[in-house]
């Protein structure tokens, strides 16, 4: 899906298992928390979880606006 959408629009792939994302050829990759809960963490309080989710989404939006020349994993 990442590849197909990227024919028209830039895509950020937020995923836990980065090597798979790299293998399938996503260009902008955001590492996430865990497969059953990519953007959340049930071990944290709701407030901490919201802050975590916001941080990841903001990172994704920043990645979307970043010019890249090769497959890039955004960790900040």
């Amino acid at each position: 899906m990442v590849k197909e959408i990227e024919r028209e629009l830039p895509v950020v792939h937020m995923c836990t298992i980065v090597p798979i994302s790299q293998t399938v050829g996503a260009n902008r990759i955001i590492p996430t928390i865990a497969i059953p809960h990519p953007l959340g963490d049930p071990s944290k309080t709701p407030e901490e979880e919201k802050a975590l989710r916001r941080k990841l989404v903001e990172r994704a939006l920043k990645a979307l606006q970043t010019e890249i020349t090769e497959q890039t994993v955004f960790t900040e």
Binding site: T16, I17, V18, P19, I20, T23, V24, P31, I33, A34, I35, P36
Partner: protein, 431 residues
């Protein structure tokens, strides 16, 4: 270590007054077995025991696990340690095996993550459990709103207790068993006595994704371990138990762990073609850090043992492909040759990418087949369980069950059809 498997060959099953073995027949006292299982307050009142024999026009759906009845008649510990017996180390002595017999646990748990076993017809060719005389436990929870983790555990324990009970009840017939002996030397002895042979290990990947995708080692949830070393003989005594509710085709049943063909064949070739040094168990967890940690640790153990090569078996598909691939390239970069055993999800037409991940080092790979291949299963005269589950089972879809009772599904829905331990009756030959 030396383990004798005392195989009693079970040719038929019947219900009767006394559970035991006579003239190839396993008699099961249904009331006694039901009473033992019913002790668990988590299981409901309407549980049942049924029998399914090879060749019968019987379908069992949905199946959770398959277990081979075994009971230790000599040696330390008891079968399924940490589960239905003490945690003492197993793998030595004598273990009675009801060969040709299996306990099946059936009933609705996660629904889409259970399987189908047909005892005859085209589906029967794809599951090794169509060839066994099956004692089927049809289970239900005492409370329909019970937490699924609690209910899964109740079903798991019920199956193990039934398997241990059946084999224990046949202990008096031990004199009629055929004895198969397996020996496994300690690592030092193996290294000293076979210096000229290549040193080969087995990297045994276990499904441990949580959310009811779990495997247990001596009762320990394997997602909480660092990779460790066990004797292959311990596996034969049930040290590894499946707690998995996941696609039926390539989850390793407890039965396939007990009868792991990779272990059996490597032990047979030990001392001839190679020195089978050790079995390393590892997990398949759900965070990248866990995957990286476990693959680094498992391959480091292989390196510390001075291995020249390892056989790696995967369990499941999708993200575990990433664990498989990390295990592969990390071992190869230590100079350890790898052979991978997996299956494929290449789409119904077989044209899609087979694995979710790959690496150039993975150049020796054995496949157990394409789980997306579609099969038509004709109607059966008898259904044990709930036929309508075919519409929700992984590999099926809304409409898989036809009005005439036939089922159209992907092989994914058939228990053990693409076993990544190679525990299957189907194979391919190079002509």
């Amino acid at each position: 270590m030396k383990l004798e498997l005392h195989r009693l060959s079970i040719k038929s099953l019947k219900f009767g007054d006394n559970t035991g073995f006579k003239d190839g027949t396993l008699t099961v006292n249904k009331a006694e077995l039901l009473e033992m299982i019913s002790e668990d307050p988590l299981l409901g009142k309407n549980i049942d025991v049924d029998i399914a024999m090879p060749g019968e026009k019987t379908r069992i759906i949905p199946v959770k696990d398959v277990i081979e009845p075994r009971w230790k008649i000599e040696g330390s510990g008891q079968v399924f340690p940490g589960m239905v017996s003490d945690v003492e180390t197993v793998g030595e002595g004598k273990t009675l095996v009801l060969s040709g017999c299996a306990v099946l646990t059936a009933g609705k748990i996660v629904r889409f993550q259970e399987g189908i076993i047909d005892m005859s017809g085209p589906g029967a060719d794809y599951t090794p459990y169509s060839k066994t005389c099956n004692v089927v436990l049809v289970l239900e929870p005492s409370d329909p709103n019970m937490d699924k983790h609690d209910y899964e555990k109740a079903c798991r324990i019920a199956g193990l207790k039934a398997a241990a009970y059946l084999a224990k009840s046949c202990a008096e017939a031990d004199s009629e068993s055929e004895i198969e002996t397996y020996e496994y030397a300690d690592i030092k002895t193996g290294m000293n006595s076979l210096p000229e042979l290549p040193k080969v290990g087995y990297l045994y990947m276990l499904q441990t994704q949580g959310l009811l995708h779990d495997t247990y080692l001596y009762g320990v949830d394997v997602k909480r371990i660092l990779p460790t070393i066990i004797s292959p003989l311990e596996v034969m005594d049930g040290a590894i138990v499946s707690g998995n509710c996941v696609s039926a085709c390539d989850k390793n049943s407890t039965y396939s762990h007990q009868n792991n063909p990779v272990i059996a064949d490597m032990l047979k070739r030990h001392g001839k073609d190679f020195n089978f040094v050790a079995c390393i168990v590892t997990n398949e967890n759900v965070t990248l850090a866990d995957k990286r940690r476990s693959s680094s640790y498992a391959t480091k153990l292989a390196h510390m043992l001075g291995l020249d090569g390892i056989v790696i078996t995967e369990e499941g598909f999708g993200n575990p492909d990433a664990d498989l691939i990390m295990n592969c390239w990390k071992a190869e970069r230590y100079g350890i040759k790898t052979a991978l055993l997996t299956d494929e999800y290449a789409g119904q037409d077989g044209a899609s990418q087979s694995l979710a991940d790959s690496c150039p080092e993975g150049n020796a790979c054995v496949t157990a087949g394409n789980a997306n291949e579609v099969i038509h299963l004709p109607a059966m005269e008898k259904v044990i369980g709930y036929a309508e589950e075919a519409n929700v089972i992984a590999g099926g879809w809304n409409g898989s069950l036809s009005e005439d009772g036939s089922i159209t599904v992907e092989l994914q829905a058939i228990t053990g059809s693409t076993s990544e331990l190679g525990y299957t009756k189907l194979g391919a030959y190079t002509l």
